[in-house]
């Protein structure tokens, strides 16, 4: 059969973001494939070197649209380490609530979005609609729906609005009730199971070879490898949660794990609301003077958190000035989105390519930066 060149993306319902895979197919089997990133390259790392430490806050959440908050968190953590700042206790808990809400929103988008590559659009609409309810909460807390700019160096930007705890708890109850409906709609669907069970396997060696993290890793290496567990930040060491892991990673397992993780996120938020101090400061000063002249002591530090897609990290270098000297972004899906597409997509069918993207959590903006 003749080999045909085929572009998946940049505009395609199965692709997440403006991102493309250049495939050579024979019939519907992929022979060779290359990742073609760059459609979303906005030069974030360069831009960050040219803005004040505080001004970058407007920039960093935009690196990942679905789950912007880990960006703010690693940025804040890095500065706090460099400047040796003690974050107020309440701020730690608020940050956890925000991060878990963001993870919940990202996972909702993902368990809904998985419908797109398998042709089950109802779940996409459900996912987006329910995520919007989380965005409502974000809007009330931070003033914005998607790019919150809320976790700031030293703490959080503002205290929680009054009564938001109850609203969050109500929403959690609602989402908890919705999860079985999602599950029935998507996961138990015979079509979905046929497409995903024993498909797009991720063997353990590949995990180590590429450097895949997150759910993909946990489902393959049979260990609870999660930054929140291995290297707890904020107050993750003071809440109880356990994450799913297993030795066999097919597309179905990876999506299945997301449901379990969502239940865990809900539990973490509930515990946080219960355990966090009811009042107290939420922000520490990171330097003297006006924000135009904040300086961070010179040094280099790497900070990472567990995003919905795995280890998300910033390497931050300061030369003591009013702007960062260099920031390098480790997007969680960088390994699977670039090298994974090139090395492990071949052999699969065309229509499974977008399942790869989806279940591996490939997020184009964080790869391009």
């Amino acid at each position: 059969m003749k080999e045909v060149k085929l572009f998946l993306g940049p505009q395609h319902p199965g692709m997440h973001g403006n991102y493309s895979a250049h495939m050579y197919v024979e019939g519907d089997i992929i022979n060779k494939s290359y990742a073609l990133p760059g459609m979303l390259h906005r030069g974030f790392e360069k831009l960050m070197e040219r803005r004040h430490w505080m001004g970058n806050l407007a920039l960093i959440p935009r690196i990942c649209v679905i789950e912007p908050d880990p960006n703010e968190m690693v940025y804040a953590m890095s500065i706090e380490k460099l400047a040796a700042i003690e974050v107020p206790e309440r701020a730690h808990w608020i940050r956890m609530i925000i991060l878990e809400l963001a993870r919940l929103a990202a996972n909702l988008m993902s368990i809904g979005g998985i419908g797109a590559p398998v042709g089950l659009y109802t779940s996409v609409y459900w996912g987006v609609a329910d995520r919007d309810l989380i965005l409502d909460i974000f809007e009330k807390i931070t003033g914005a729906r998607v790019y919150h700019m809320y976790i700031v160096p030293g703490g959080v930007r503002k205290d929680l609005p009054e009564g938001i705890e109850e609203e969050i708890l109500d929403l959690l109850d609602y989402i908890e009730g919705r999860l079985p409906e999602f599950y029935d709609l998507v996961m138990r669907s015979p079509i979905f199971q046929t497409r995903t069970r024993d498909n797009i396997l991720l063997p353990e060696e590949v995990v180590w070879e590429l450097g895949v993290t997150g759910i993909g890793m946990r489902s393959a290496v049979n260990r609870e490898y999660d930054i929140r567990k291995v290297k707890p930040y904020a107050r993750y060491d003071q809440v109880e949660f356990s994450l799913p892991y297993g030795p066999y990673s097919d597309a179905f397992t990876r999506v299945d794990f997301k449901y379990i993780e969502m239940a865990q996120s809900i539990s973490i938020i509930r515990q946080s609301i219960e355990k966090m101090p009811k009042d107290g400061p939420v922000r520490a000063k990171i330097a003297t003077g006006s924000a135009l002249r904040w300086q961070v002591p010179p040094g280099m530090v790497y900070s990472c958190v567990e995003s919905a897609r795995g280890e998300y990290g910033y390497l931050v270098v300061s030369d003591g000035g009013e702007m960062p000297y260099r920031i390098a972004v480790r997007g969680s899906s960088y390994p699977q989105g670039l090298m994974g597409v090139e090395k492990y997509l071949p052999g699969h069918r065309i229509d499974d390519a977008s399942l790869w993207m989806d279940t591996m959590g490939v997020c184009a903006p964080e790869i391009d930066r």
Binding site: M149, M187, R188, S189, G289
Partner: protein, 608 residues
């Protein structure tokens, strides 16, 4: 959750077929848009009454979305620029950092979030209190103390311990340490509102930045740009700039004066001298004679030297400096600081002809013949006398002579002036406090006990003197008799003073905020054996020949000049300082600089 496949389980979703959709229908989006949350970062609103046009919002803006537009109809005033921020919504990222850093609390964001147009220009917008479409929307995101991005509190300056500080003339303020200076400098937002207010229009944001970047040599260069008396002004300037500082809108203004002082105190001497002399021109354009070596004369002389003129400054007293050498007491302005500034001016090539009084040792006509132009800044040296009984009694002493004697003593050039142990000071302004605190020190230096009684017509909060003088003098033990107006100096049969008779007064503030002092018939006697009067000075114009006196326009003891410092009717004569404007040193420095420019212009035009 069961993981087994089931053909029927997806069908459960069918129950939503009969439910209302949760999406907002298109036709409702414009008529009934969803209301944003109370914290929403929507379009900007800017309260023009509060906005001071400082442009800090534009500085912090990470997307360069904010431009400051000059607004016709607004006037530049102290602490207020006639500009307002315009926002380009093609760039704005709705981060609200502008709101968090707004110095005047005028910016906030509203719940309004819809604007649709095919015209890209309509996304460029000048917000006011009415919002993007001139329809009222609730205010949403606004700054609170947590999201604050300014540093509102001053960093403390080191002072000598309060106890026993009045036992000597040691300078009260020690100055900023490096850390504190950097911290204080970091509070500045570089808006430059202060520059307008400073009479000399000093490059304040620039030199604060030099402190911040620790390039003090550059800082010294900035100082000499507009002021050759930075040592002096870094200590006793009236710092009008600080009242204009936009940080003062919500907090304590940046300690501009102390930062200037930090530069002069910490720049290596060589760098400081170089900053002063590097700009001096070698070419000779003409000769200028200056009457009086006070701040105005020094400033004029220095800037004329930088333009290449030969300058002679005539000084009646033994040392040049005028009020800075014979006025302010040592504990506020040490001799070394005065000397540093004046030495630099001398290094710049200005020639001082001291102990030479114009009108006595040389006439104004002789000066006119000798020089291409003359700048007069003879100052106010004739003490004013209150119109009360026995005011001509020889036991009454006046501030200019007493302070000059005191300065001569503290610099080791003269004996300690004579004084009684139980004295009365009449005044209310800074100078009267200088007299009282100097007397207090003298008394304690020679005796264990000090009695200085201080009489003023006004209550504490209405005194003309600066706040710290009033507080510190009280701490040092000066006894206040406020709300008292002297009516007579009391003299006994032997001809000795035994007190001052005063009327009890009351100061009332009317509805418009104007204070008015009314004195009653009720009299009191305040006892003391010597009276010091510090109620202001007058100029001495004796050096003007009679026919000139008639031609001059003098109103309220001030000579009329044009905007170049030129005396009306006498194009070769320029004037500045107290005799044309007053009231403080920095204004005199400004006058001197302005006259130097005026003289240069006049002489250049004359050559052509």
């Amino acid at each position: 959750m069961m993981k087994n496949k089931s053909m029927f389980s997806p069908l459960r979703a069918w129950k939503y077929l009969v439910k209302e959709p949760i999406t907002i229908p298109m036709e409702r989006i414009f008529d009934h848009p969803r209301e944003a949350s109370d914290n929403y970062r929507g379009f900007h609103v800017n309260d023009w009454d509060k906005c001071v046009g400082c442009g800090t919002c534009g500085e912090i803006c990470p997307t360069n979305a904010i431009t400051m537009l000059p607004i016709e109809g607004l006037r530049e005033t102290d602490g207020h620029k006639p500009e307002r921020p315009a926002i380009d919504y093609g760039r704005c990222s709705f981060c609200a950092l502008c709101v968090d850093i707004c110095t005047s609390d005028s910016l906030s964001m509203s719940k309004e979030y819809l604007h649709i147009s095919k015209d890209a220009d309509s996304f460029y917008f000048l917000p006011d209190a009415r919002g993007m479409h001139q329809t009222a929307f609730d205010t949403a995101y606004s700054r609170d103390e947590v999201s604050e991005l300014l540093d509102l509190e001053r960093y403390e300056i080191q002072e000598i311990p309060h106890e026993n500080r009045n036992l000597s003339f040691t300078e009260l303020i020690k100055g900023y340490s490096r850390e504190m200076a950097l911290a204080e400098a970091s509070r500045c937002v570089e808006c430059g509102v202060c520059t307008y207010t400073c009479p000399a229009h000093m490059n304040i944001p620039e030199y604060i930045r030099s402190v911040w970047t620790e390039d003090l040599k550059e800082g010294a260069q900035w100082l000499y740009e507009t002021n050759p008396l930075s040592n002096v002004c870094g200590r006793i300037c009236t710092h009008k700039c600080e009242t204009a500082c936009v940080i003062g809108q919500r907090g304590e203004p940046v300690a501009i004066r102390w930062l200037k002082r930090y530069i002069v105190d910490n720049t290596p001497e060589g760098d400081f001298v170089e900053a002063a002399t590097a700009r001096v021109s070698r070419q000779v354009n003409g000769r200028v004679g200056i009457i009086g070596s006070g701040p105005a004369g020094l400033s004029c002389g220095y800037y004329l030297r930088t333009m290449g003129y030969e300058v002679d400054i005539y000084e009646e007293k033994e040392l040049p400096g005028g009020v800075i050498r014979y006025g302010a007491p040592e504990y506020r302005l040490p001799e070394a600081s005065v000397k540093a500034d004046i030495d630099n001016i001398e290094r710049a090539g200005v020639k001082f002809i001291t102990s030479t009084k114009v009108g006595r040792d040389i006439t104004l006509e002789q000066m006119k013949d000798k020089y291409d132009a003359v700048f007069s800044a003879s100052g106010y040296w004739i003490p004013r006398k209150l119109k009360i009984d026995n005011v001509d009694h020889p036991g009454i002493r006046f501030s200019p002579h007493f302070l000059a004697e005191a300065r001569d003593f503290t610099r080791g050039k003269g004996p300690m002036p004579e004084f009684h142990q139980d004295v009365i000071v009449i005044g209310g302004g800074d100078v009267s406090f200088d007299v009282a605190r100097t007397l207090n020190r003298f008394q304690l230096m020679t005796n264990a006990r000090a009695i200085v009684r201080f009489i003023a017509r006004k209550p504490e909060e209405h005194l003309a003197a600066s706040r710290e003088e009033v507080v510190e003098a009280k701490e040092e033990g000066v006894i206040y008799h406020l709300d008292r107006s002297p009516t007579a100096v009391l003299v006994d049969d032997k001809g000795d003073i035994y007190g001052v008779e005063v009327a009890v007064c009351e100061t009332v503030v009317d509805d418009r905020g104007r204070a008015k002092t009314v004195c009653s018939e009720e009299k009191e006697i305040i006892r003391g054996t010597e009276v010091y009067m510090a109620v202001g000075n007058d100029p001495d114009f004796v050096y003007f020949p009679e026919e000139m006196m008639e031609a001059l326009t003098i109103e309220n003891n001030k000579i009329a000049i044009n905007e170049k410092g030129q005396v009306e009717g006498f194009e070769w004569l320029f004037a500045g300082g107290d005799i044309v404007r007053g009231p403080d040193i920095i204004s005199a420095v400004a006058d001197g600089h302005q006259a130097a420019v005026g003289i240069d212009e006049y002489l250049m035009n004359r050559k052509k």
